[in-house]
């Protein structure tokens, strides 16, 4: 029997606002524990929530990118439960009226587009961070209250691959809109996955298994594929799939049981009485959307149409929003868009990879890269001089024009000097003109090689070529 895999995904995205969701504590993801805390984050009695405008703007932007309807009246609810990481004994969330509802995103599977429905998007607050040791746990409240958006998909994902592409797309949206770092490894994007299977053709859902603690997008795919296989093996053996929570064991590449699900927790939701309903004006919503940083698809279109880049290169640059921003900034200083892309993809990326740093940690101003590309393209320097300048540039972050002077990376551009050199070579090799006329074009290359040799490669090849041709034709 063949089974269809049914997957629903809940994604929590940690926003990178300057202050928390409901408190004014700063967020800098600093390392010293309990230094980004105000009384509300500790649930000291009498503290009250104050909704962060930027968090609402972020939620609107992501909702819009996911084609969701936006509720212009903001309501919050309390989700009541006890846990060691939950300071207030409740989390302020949006249960009854999520800001975003009924949307979708499009993924590409085997060249075909597939729409994945999204049920809801809501704002809530993060819990405090627990650091576990052998026989105790330490609590750091820096994370308590950081704004989150939760995005809940419909159960319309059918494979590990689709799930991976879905999560990639969400990450792309939240990073390009500058809402979040979207780093799964660091927990700023967290995925809980529900997997069930059913015989093809059936319209009933099977028993759901929840998989938690997935720390990379690759693992989302692996975990789902493993889990679907595990469940189908159980069913084929005549056993039942049990409702449970599992985690993905990276070493074993399989899901392992965390706990059996007993009856669902009753969160006793009710409207948060300390936050009045907040009416969002049409202008506010429109402005949030209009000022949303450019998303991937728009950027790709611009890179293809405005910069005229080829699609492969454009997509490489768009692998990260930071790289795209870097390119955009550099492109303000040159019109040589494709050579600029080539240089960034090969030389800059090569440097980053070699030093295992990100473009954000790359300390060369984008305009210097553009200057260097201009120097190379105008053939004022050759490629080896280019490399020499780049090496110095990454260390000193100063204008390639200055570096060029400092290292004396100057080509001979003087036509009469080059002419003299060419004539020297032709005099020493009298057969060359005849060879050339007889169709032996390599004579041209030979002359170039010789004059370069005489001047250590520092002759402007463009000018030299022109003169060589003229002389050979004589």
């Amino acid at each position: 029997m063949n089974f269809e895999t049914i997957v629903g995904i809940e994604i929590h995205v940690e926003m990178k606002t300057k202050s928390k969701m409901f408190s004014l504590a700063p967020i800098s993801f600093g390392l010293t524990p309990n230094t980004e805390v105000v009384p509300m984050d500790m649930a000291f009695p009498g503290t009250m929530p104050r909704v962060n405008k930027e968090a609402v703007r972020n939620a609107i932007r992501v909702s819009n990118a996911l084609h969701m309807s936006i509720d212009q009246e903001i309501w919050f609810d309390r989700k009541n439960y006890f846990y060691s990481d939950l300071p207030k004994g409740y989390q302020i969330t949006q249960q009854a009226r999520p800001i975003g509802s009924e949307g979708y995103l499009v993924i590409n599977i085997d060249g075909k587009e597939k729409k994945i429905g999204i049920e809801r998007l809501h704002m809530e607050e993060d819990t405090c961070m627990q650091h576990h040791f052998s026989d105790y746990t330490l609590l750091d409240y820096n994370r308590a209250g950081i704004p989150l958006i939760e995005i809940v998909s419909k159960p319309e994902i059918r494979s590990g691959e689709e799930a991976r592409k879905y999560v990639e797309k969400i990450r792309e949206i939240v990073t390009f809109s500058n809402v979040s770092d979207g780093k799964m490894e660091e927990g700023s994007l967290r995925c809980d996955v529900n997997v069930s299977i059913r015989p093809y053709g059936s319209d009933k859902f099977g028993t759901k298994v929840e998989i938690k603690n997935l720390n990379s997008i690759a693992n989302v795919e692996k975990a789902i594929d493993f889990e679907a296989k595990r469940q189908s093996e159980l069913l084929l053996l005549g056993k039942e799939v049990e409702q449970e929570t599992r985690r993905f064991d990276e070493a074993k590449k399989e899901t392992v049981l965390m706990r059996k699900k007993t009856d669902a927790v009753d969160y006793k939701y009710f409207t948060e009485p300390n936050i009045p309903p907040i009416r969002l004006s049409d202008e506010f919503v429109k402005d949030a959307i209009d000022t949303c940083p450019e998303l991937y698809d728009q950027k790709l279109e611009r890179f293809l149409n405005v910069y005229g880049l080829n699609e492969v290169d454009a997509k490489i640059i768009l692998t990260s929003v930071d790289m795209a921003d870097y390119y955009d900034e550099a492109a303000k200083f040159t019109k040589l868009y494709q050579p600029l892309a080539n240089f960034i993809i090969s030389d800059v990326n090569g440097y980053l990879n070699k030093n295992t740093i990100s473009i954000k940690e790359f300390n060369v101003e984008p305009k210097f890269i553009s200057e260097l590309v201009e120097l190379l393209q105008s053939k004022k320097i050759n490629s080896s001089q280019g490399k020499q300048i780049f090496e110095k540039l990454v260390k000193e972050n100063k204008s390639p024009l200055i570096i060029q002077k400092e290292v004396g990376a100057v080509l001979i551009n003087d036509e009469s000097e080059i002419h003299k050199l060419v004539l020297e070579v032709l005099e020493a090799n009298p057969t060359l003109r005849d060879d050339f006329k007889a169709g032996k074009t390599r004579a041209q290359g030979f002359v170039m090689g010789q004059i370069m040799k005489k001047r250590g490669g520092k002759v402007n090849p463009g000018i030299a070529n022109k003169i060589i041709l003229e002389e050979l034709k004589k």
Binding site: F44, N52, L139, R279
Partner: protein, 98 residues
């Protein structure tokens, strides 16, 4: 509605993370008898289920949202001042599992 008996009440109390003496559950069970009567008084109101549940005393809808500007946080010392068990600048608990 959920049936009320001592077990249900004890379970409810335990889910709220406390326990009571056995006789307190008896007292509570008696109180629930009176509460049931009180709840009927609410149910007696004509048209009670035709209006919406009220959280706020009157229309308090606002248009204000606070700017995303942080304030000075508490010092770590102050954060931990009222906590019972502290280690390495953090609050210490027995190991939390699962």
């Amino acid at each position: 509605m959920k049936e009320v008996n001592k077990e249900v009440l004890k379970d409810a109390a335990n889910r709220l993370l406390f326990d009571m003496k056995d006789e307190e559950y008896d007292t509570l069970l008696n109180e629930f008898g009176a509460i049931q009567h009180q709840l009927n008084l609410i149910g007696n109101i004509k048209g009670v289920d035709e209006v919406s549940p009220m959280t706020f005393p009157f229309d308090v809808t606002i248009t204000y949202l606070r700017e995303d500007e942080p304030e000075t946080p508490l010092s770590q010392k102050d954060v931990l001042k009222n906590a019972h068990d502290v280690k390495d600048g953090q609050i210490k608990l027995p190991k939390v599992v699962g």
